[in-house]
């Protein structure tokens, strides 16, 4: 009898649960039509890491405040989320039917969201003026299946920073940084020998993250092969790079398992010699140590392109910050207005882009602020680094690809396993992902 009652109750609970599951399957974010009445006060939700980081928070909040002042009908609801959590938080928000109106994203995150169908294509949203003014190369990096999904906000390609003071202390020419990978390796050996053990020669990200792969992409290219080119998987060709990286870790030329951001405090303490970082490196270092003035900074640091490898070409990876408009947004018009304000307005450029060391993404900015964009670092970025940028294989599989490659890289630097064996496994797994096997 008691069993019968249990069966009865369990049956009811199961029925309720099944009913909810069935209802849940039909749910999901519905496509909302765009457009908002200009007289109506609207609120847009802005997900970003700019206000989650101490170095950029104050300036970003000032830009938001100014935008609200100039657009009294639009209220910006600021949602700070750390940079490393953008993809999973935005995915959860989108699939939970709670997508923001606009978000700050890197290319890999933006393209993944576009592939998910979470973003609205931007070509028909942006004003013609703005489209004409945008940096075309950067805008095209944000394409997925023939459509643009990302609005370039600030330029942040990775350049090769060198510490002139430490180079001099090591007896190397402070004004002549290594031009080739061979010279870089030799310089690191000298640094390790002549400078105290606490000095770290090279900043390189070896974490299992998409950002880790993007950071290493240019190094891989310099050593002669990137793991995926179009549909072609060629992880086994990474051997020279893998050998070099294993040697770097074994000889203490870099710290294994660190995110590239974790090397920045070392740079602020004058303990890093070579960095591979974006133009905001300067602003971030100054935020760690307020006593570092612009003058002091440029006395210590110089920037150029990554040393060249076998093909004598310099490479850089895009770490630029973009804005994405979500398909589910009810206020796309207001969100686009905000995006254009962030990328193009005098106020945003003066308050956010210039002081933090970023590069502008609209061509008119350099004409409007010629002096501000002519400092030695930005000049080097605009003239040398930006033309060297190559695009990693962003797409719906990028996170999987990054996990496989970076796990292989960690295998290389933390074990003594034969490198060809490790790369063969990576190759096999990548072929499975790329060719769907």
């Amino acid at each position: 009898m008691f069993r019968k009652k249990w069966a009865f109750v369990v049956a009811i609970l199961l029925a309720v649960s099944l009913f909810m599951v069935a209802c849940g399957q039909g749910g999901g974010a519905s496509n909302q039509s765009s457009g908002s009445s200009s007289n109506q006060k609207v609120e847009i939700t802005f997900v970003n890491w700019a206000t989650a980081e101490e170095a950029t928070k104050k300036q970003m909040l000032a830009v938001i405040e100014e935008f609200e002042k100039q657009n009294p009908n639009i209220k910006v609801k600021n949602v700070p989320i750390p940079v490393g959590e953008q993809l999973n938080q935005l995915t959860i928000m989108t699939t939970g039917g709670n997508a923001p109106d606009i978000a700050q994203v890197h290319f890999d995150v933006g393209i993944s969201l576009a592939a998910m169908g979470a973003l609205e294509p931007t070509d028909n949203l942006l004003s013609k003026d703005f489209l004409d003014d945008l940096n075309k190369k950067l805008y095209d990096f944000g394409m997925w299946e023939g459509k643009h999904y990302l609005i370039p906000w600030v330029g942040h390609p990775l350049g090769f920073w060198y510490n002139k003071k430490l180079l001099k202390e090591a007896g190397l020419d402070p004004n002549n940084p290594p031009q080739t990978m061979e010279e870089l390796t030799k310089a690191m050996a000298v640094i390790k020998e002549k400078l105290p053990a606490e000095v770290v020669p090279l900043q390189i990200d070896t974490t299992i993250r998409t950002l880790g792969l993007s950071h290493e992409w240019s190094f891989m290219a310099a050593f002669g092969a990137i793991p995926i080119e179009g549909d072609k998987v060629q992880a086994t060709k990474l051997e020279p790079f893998a050998e070099w990286l294993r040697m770097c870790v074994k000889k203490g030329y870099t710290l294994p398992g660190k995110k590239f951001g974790e090397f920045r405090p070392l740079a602020a303490q004058n303990r890093l010699v070579f960095g591979f970082d974006g133009p905001s490196f300067k602003g971030i270092i100054q935020s760690f140590d307020k006593s570092i003035t612009d003058e002091k900074f440029y006395e210590t640091w110089g920037v150029t392109t990554l040393p060249v490898g076998v093909d004598k070409k310099p490479y850089s990876a895009p770490d630029d910050h973009n804005l994405a408009i979500f398909k589910a947004s009810k206020n796309k018009e207001a969100a686009v207005k905000f995006a254009e304000f962030l990328s193009r307005s005098d106020f945003a450029i003066k308050t956010y882009v210039i002081p933090l060391g970023f590069l502008p993404t609209v061509q008119s900015a350099v004409q409007r602020f010629p002096q501000e964009f002519s400092d030695p670092a930005r000049k080097a970025y605009i003239e040398k680094v930006v033309p060297a940028v190559i695009r990693p294989p962003y797409g719906p599989n990028y996170a999987k690809i990054a996990t496989v490659i970076m796990a292989g890289i960690q295998d290389v630097i933390t074990t003594d396993k034969p490198i060809p064996e490790i790369l063969k496994t990576v190759q096999m797994k990548l072929e499975g992902i790329v060719h769907g096997r």
């Binding site: 009898m1 008691f2 649960s17 796990a407």
Partner: protein, 308 residues
């Protein structure tokens, strides 16, 4: 008597007017909570079971197929799944055994403390109330290759010659996360054993000593049998808890280097929220749930046995 109470009916008779079985009052009172719990547990469970039968990746919304048990067969050929399963067993097994032994020793030591030092019992509980994420960060710094105090102490003691990359070595990383976990959970054992020790009748212990038993014999033949029930229940509870441990491992190593500290729960997280492979993550999650369910059933059975 208890049986009578639980079977008392709201009204007499075996079946209601429409043939539905009549439920005992106790059951009706507990039903709302069961209903709520079922909705928050059963709903995701059923939903995950269904998802595990689909090839469903969030980044490929137009490519969702019903693949039946493909995700499960893929799992059995997946090296990383087996590695994660093995890591889960190592992490759980070592954590539970070491915590149990150390917890018992500390509990016995604390039990001998004079009353004026009773405050110490409260202090040893501190690690238990610290959230896992904070414990993870603390130990991440302790084991840092550059500034970690673990290397400094071991070098001072002459145990190591150069600083070790604790969190970037496949073997050392697992040791580091286990140490952090043990530090975090030992107080729970201490608490349980202290309570158990207090419950042992003093005259039984004294009788053993009077009969000529040594301290060790008294411990083995009197104290341990009294604590056996607590040991089993506590260990099972901690096995379940450690199977689920996420924050300490994720904060300290993120499951790396390579996949050397990736446990099942970390693997599921990575599949679902880093690779967006929801179908496969659900399949792994279901297997993980089944293992936990089996352990929970053993736990409930043990508990029931002890109560009766």
């Amino acid at each position: 008597m208890a049986g009578e109470r639980t079977t008392r009916r709201i009204s007499g008779g075996k079946e209601g007017k429409r043939g539905f079985p009549r439920l005992p009052l106790s059951f009706l009172l507990i039903f709302p909570s069961i209903l709520v719990l079922s909705l928050v547990i059963l709903y995701p469970l059923i939903s995950s079971s269904l998802l595990s039968l689909f090839n469903y990746e969030l980044t490929k919304p137009h490519d969702i197929d019903f693949v039946f048990f493909n995700n499960y067969s893929k799992m059995f050929k997946d090296d990383t799944f087996w590695l994660a399963f093995r890591n889960t067993l190592i992490f759980t097994g070592v954590s539970v055994v070491v915590s149990l032994v150390v917890g018992l020793i500390v509990a016995i030591a604390l039990d001998q403390l004079p009353e004026r030092l009773a405050g110490l019992r409260g202090i040893v509980l501190v690690p238990w109330i610290i959230p896992g994420v904070i414990v993870g960060f603390l130990f991440m710094l302790i084991f840092d290759v550059e500034v970690g105090i673990a290397n400094v102490i071991l070098k001072q003691l002459g145990i190591i010659k150069k600083f070790l990359p604790w969190l970037m070595d496949e073997q050392l990383a697992m040791i580091a996360v286990i140490v952090a976990n043990i530090w975090n959970q030992i107080p729970f054992y201490i608490l349980m054993f202290t309570a158990g020790l207090k419950a042992i009748p003093v005259d039984v212990k004294e009788a053993a000593i009077v009969e000529g038993a040594s301290r060790w014999q008294e411990f083995v033949h009197v104290t341990l049998p009294y604590l056996r029930g607590i040991m089993v229940i506590t260990s099972l509870l901690m096995v379940i808890r450690n199977f689920n441990n996420f924050p300490i491992i994720y904060t300290m190593t993120g499951g790396g280097p390579v996949f050397s500290t990736t446990t099942l729960v970390i693997y599921i997280y990575r599949l679902a929220f880093e690779q967006f492979n929801i179908g496969y993550a659900s399949a792994v999650g279901i297997v993980w749930c089944l293992v936990l369910l089996a352990l929970s059933m053993v736990y409930v059975k043990m508990l029931y046995k002890q109560v009766h």
